[in-house]
Point group: C2
Chain length 280, copies 2
């Protein structure tokens, strides 16, 4: 049985441990001893420590599930071995993966992104079911295919629905659109609420759209800044589309508004069709 060290037993790290523990031996690392004790008591991990140093020589795979700014600091602390795979679950890639690849030599670094989560943080909300059917993105930086193979095994064990292999920069561009921009919209929409009794006027669509405005500030601040250029471009394109709607309204241009609605309906129907095909 291969051994995996998971560094960071938050929502994602602990959910990985829960979903992988039948097929791998799982060692957990967290600076929070309460989280470690919880993980051991609930048999989520077989061993725990506050430092990766205790497991670094014993494990085959190391998964970092910590914040973006911490990751290079952690990688600098250790000497990795040739047969090891080092990976992480971060939602932004380009700013660190090439340096990470150099730092872990002679080990293989192969980054990935599990497209799943919850608004809640911490090990107590961990649940490996959140991965079922979700997208799993692998963003390799080197020709070595070992990393891809190991990650595909992990994705299957966690029951992800679809695996894609893409470049770190394309990852950041697309996640900047579907995830980072979506979070920016939720934050701005909630912050533009200046009314005393909005709750009386809320339907499902507003509630769904704004749920992610209950944002984990520390994590998302890093995800925004580390993907700044993509996010700014996407924001500009989005505001440009809002302007088209505003202009159609201001000029009473019904044909224009109608054609904007037709465009969004056709695009979203196509997306839904593609998503349903993926799920089959």
């Amino acid at each position: 049985m291969k051994k995996i060290a998971i560094v960071g037993l938050g929502l994602i790290g602990a959910s990985y441990a829960m979903g992988l523990k039948d097929k791998y031996e799982i060692y957990g690392v967290d600076i929070d001893t309460k989280a470690l004790n919880y993980a051991i008591q609930n048999k989520i991990i077989s061993k725990g420590s506050t430092t990766l140093a205790d497991f670094i020589d014993a494990v085959d795979i190391i998964i970092f599930s910590i914040y973006p700014l911490q990751i290079l600091e952690e990688l600098k602390k250790y000497r990795f071995k040739e047969n090891q795979l080092v990976t992480d679950v971060l939602g932004v890639k380009s700013f660190f993966v090439y340096e990470a690849s150099k730092l872990v030599k002679p080990a293989v670094y192969c980054s990935h992104h599990p497209m799943a989560g919850k608004e809640k943080v911490g090990i107590r909300y961990a649940d490996s079911k959140i991965f079922k059917g979700a997208n799993f993105l692998i963003t390799p930086t080197e020709a070595d295919s070992r990393g891809i193979k190991e990650l595909e095994e992990i994705a299957k064990a966690l029951e992800f629905g679809r695996i894609d292999i893409i470049s770190p920069s394309y990852h950041d561009k697309m996640i900047g659109y579907t995830s980072t921009l979506t979070h920016a919209i939720a934050v701005a929409l909630v912050n533009s609420d200046s009314f005393p009794d909005t709750n009386n006027f809320v339907g499902d669509s507003y509630r769904d759209l704004t749920r992610i405005a209950m944002i984990n500030s520390s994590l998302w601040q890093e995800l925004f800044f580390k993907n700044k250029e993509n996010l700014v471009n996407h924001l500009d394109a989005f505001v440009n589309e809002l302007e088209k709607i505003r202009q159609a309204l201001a000029t009473e241009n019904k044909d224009e508004l109608n054609s904007l609605f037709k465009e969004s309906k056709a695009k979203r129907l196509l997306l839904e069709k593609n998503l349903n095909n993926l799920e089959k």
Copy 2:
């Protein structure tokens, strides 16, 4: 048993009929004879006609569930009686309710808005369960309280969760924010997608947020234009908040981004708390 004529057997009209038929006798009106036949065959209505003229003298309550631009035209066609209540389910009020009140005299006009729906249209998707626990807004224009009492009975029969009585103009302002703006955002977000394989990068939040971009163009075009001033104001306030995020990014101002996140988190948590209290 009181008799209700429902004019327009689309998703909402037919869902009303399904939820009310045990407590009222329901007559259905629709220009689409297929919808009428379906409603009769499925015992959703007890009688059907392509014109309200056939039922106008027999019913106590008339509910219009048709498009905004059609409603005043319909009201002009008939002579209503003193003991009748006339109402509608439209998502925008100010532009027609005062004129409607005059047109139906000596009957009472009392408008309302059931805050529930689906992306699907038509009688085949009708389901009175969509109203359960949702908000029901009553927007009276005259002092007569008969309309409010009748509508409260209807709301209870349909199992709405909360009933609010507000002015037409406050209704339009708030629905312009929680519903019309939200739809504008979904349309703009989908239309700003210029990528070939977005479906590979979609998580729950993007999927939830954009579902309403599969918009019923004919209906929403009228809802946008008839609530234009509110929508333009809300769009400007929203874009202003997006600009704050963009500015914080461009100037690497972490404190500012953090404080925007904290604001949205606190506001959205409060909203969630208020919504949960309502649901109890």
